[in-house]
Subunit: 400 residues, 2 copies
């Protein structure tokens, strides 16, 4: 673990906001940081080298997608995911659990973010038991069993710097009894993940070339404070992990999400970098760094771009460039933005490209959205260092 370290560099006097630095074999991550989702090993219409040029610190790829296609062994044979996708910076992989349970009924992601939808486990998730989760591939219909051991083996093959223990991500509307049962099983799965991680038998071909890896535990417990307490205690005292992620259900609306994060993060202390799984709209960033969150991941910057939406500095947070109001606008997306897109292309041009279904539109908006998030996080970090986070938030929204 010598190649990894975590250090808090400065703290706010008005909130739990803090800056820090996670050191990995592929470089440092200045926190608070945003982790961009290269779900299937690509940043949608964008390249890893372009992303690095615009100050992207760390990307995330998904164990679930990559184990199904192209398969972790193929990636291991190419020296790991860093080499395969030519990303030489820090990388995180999730455990695959979230996707199995999310794609299983198609609504976990929405539920976590507070959108009430019917909880229906669809046929792609066939069975969960002590062993693991049996599911049907969305690609070829074949059955796969994902266990803690298998998840860690795949993550070893992929070779990301930061990897996650295998867990079940419970939706918000299951009973407390199920949330508790699931949490306890996820704790047992965490121990099995760690055992597998420590087993020298399972080092993969790329392990040597991509350096050491380190594990994040996951705090479960849904919206129930006593369960969160139990899971916090488990992660802090019963297992030894480098980082801690806040997972599971964060409630059915933003207020519950903030409550769960606040309750959980204040008990997690300073020993570990704290990651919040799957949340990262710009407007949330301001609130959640004040809760002591160090890293965020969210598909929104790239997903919004694919749907024609660009991030901007107001409380709504985005504009849909498909809208007719932009047809004749010679302005950039954001006049205060220094990205390649805003410096060179008008809303009118991008609106036209979207309507004409030209791929260049996706590239230009993706570039802006990634640049925007990196600029936001840098602005947040500088503000915390100056202990002026609250003033910075007001300034941010007055920029555009």
């Amino acid at each position: 673990m010598a190649k990894f370290s975590w250090k808090i560099k400065s703290s706010s006097t008005k909130s739990k906001a803090r800056t820090g630095c996670i050191t990995t074999p592929h470089g440092k991550i200045e926190t608070p940081a945003f982790i961009f989702c290269a779900t299937k090993g690509a940043l949608k219409s964008f390249t890893t080298i372009e992303a690095k040029k615009i100050n992207t610190q760390i990307i995330l790829s998904n164990t679930y997608h990559l184990m199904l296609h192209p398969g972790s062994k193929l990636i291991a044979n190419h020296g790991g995911l860093h080499n395969f996708m030519n990303w030489d910076g820090p990388m995180l992989t999730d455990s695959g659990g979230f996707q199995i349970f999310s794609l299983g009924h198609g609504s976990v992601a929405n539920e976590i973010k507070g959108k009430k939808t019917q909880y229906l486990r669809d046929k792609s998730l066939l069975k969960i038991n002590e062993e693991g989760a049996l599911f049907k591939s969305y690609l070829n219909g074949k059955n796969y069993l994902l266990t803690p051991e298998k998840s860690i083996q795949v993550q070893r093959d992929l070779g990301a710097d930061l990897i996650l223990v295998f867990d079940e991500c419970t939706p918000f509307n299951v009973e407390k009894k199920y949330t508790e049962k699931s949490m306890k099983r996820s704790h047992r799965w965490a121990k099995r993940s760690i055992n597998m991680f420590n087993s020298k038998l399972n080092y993969s071909p790329c392990y040597g070339s991509s350096g050491e890896q380190c594990l994040y535990g996951i705090v479960q417990g849904g919206i129930y404070e006593d369960l969160r307490d139990e899971s916090i205690d488990f992660n802090l005292n019963e297992i030894k992990v480098f980082g801690i992620a806040i997972g599971g259900s964060l409630g059915s609306n933003k207020e519950e999400m903030y409550n769960v994060v606040n309750y959980t993060s204040k008990k997690l202390g300073e020993k570990h970098p704290i990651h919040l799984l799957g949340i990262g709209d710009p407007i949330d960033i301001w609130s959640l760094v004040k809760q002591g969150i160090d890293t965020f991941d969210c598909v929104s910057p790239t997903r919004l771009a694919r749907h024609g939406s660009a991030l901007i500095k107001n409380k709504i947070g985005k504009i849909n460039i498909n809208n007719a109001e932009y047809e004749n606008s010679s302005k950039p997306i954001d006049k205060s933005c220094n990205c390649h897109t805003c410096k060179n292309y008008s809303l009118s041009y991008i609106h036209y490209l979207l309507k004409a279904k030209e791929f260049t539109a996706l590239y230009l908006i993706t570039l802006h959205n990634i640049f925007f998030m990196n600029e936001l996080m840098e602005f947040v970090r500088v503000s915390i260092k100056k202990d002026q986070l609250e003033e910075a938030e007001i300034e941010w929204y007055s920029k555009s």
Copy 2:
């Protein structure tokens, strides 16, 4: 016309190959040059600034597509197409004729390139008469009349440096009688185009900002030598144009195409830069520069990329990266290529991205194909200057 000039810089002693330079208000074009198709005002998945970085000299956009959407007035109001798409280099627009007649039955493009298909004018082309061509928009079903005057007005609005007279592009399998009738009408249309071009009433808002424009005439006549002679005489002696394009039907196979180009180009002399419309596969470039062709345009580099094919230095000229043989290949597309894609990404990764339908694949292959064509043209120019074109062709194919 002071801002435009054409100069031959060197000539081969073994063929009619020559290097030259076309000067425009937006910069110089070293010839022989390849003109990339930004059909709808975008280089498919790529940006104009990226294209410039990899030595792209000149791009082409299509009057037909842009007049229908977003409309030439909108583009004029943004200062012309150079400003709208942020391309500050030389640009050519076609007259719109080719698309009307091509999309009219969907096979002109294939016929020109020697693929025999049934000649059927479909309902989108409603009528051709002395006035112009009446067609139905592929976007909204509305009827449009494109005339020489309208084509020039639209091209004035777009503001490209090099613009074309309006013509009918006859397919190869019409009778000689129709080819002759069409040619004579196209000559009358050329005169009307020039009159319109010279009419000060029709200068568009962007005309001032984007500098002067200059006209290319088009040699018609299909595969018939006497008709080609008549059209050559018309373009050289009856009208005054800056450049001359070889258009119309080039026959039903490559041999006929080479014969038509050879017959026509040798009579066109040195006074004008000679453009060959719609032809530009790498393998054709070597033969056609020997016929004295100065500029080429073809959709193939970007279109091939969209279908997963990359240009390579052999007689077949391309590989389809979708093929299973590339699934595990850690090699680049072309080990002798210095493009960003070949220096950073393996065939295996690009193959995977294509299968996973990740847009990044299109970006990476488009980048390679544009880089490849620019490298090829530079290699050809240097070889002509050294008077070693024949040796260079052999060397080119031994590179990869």
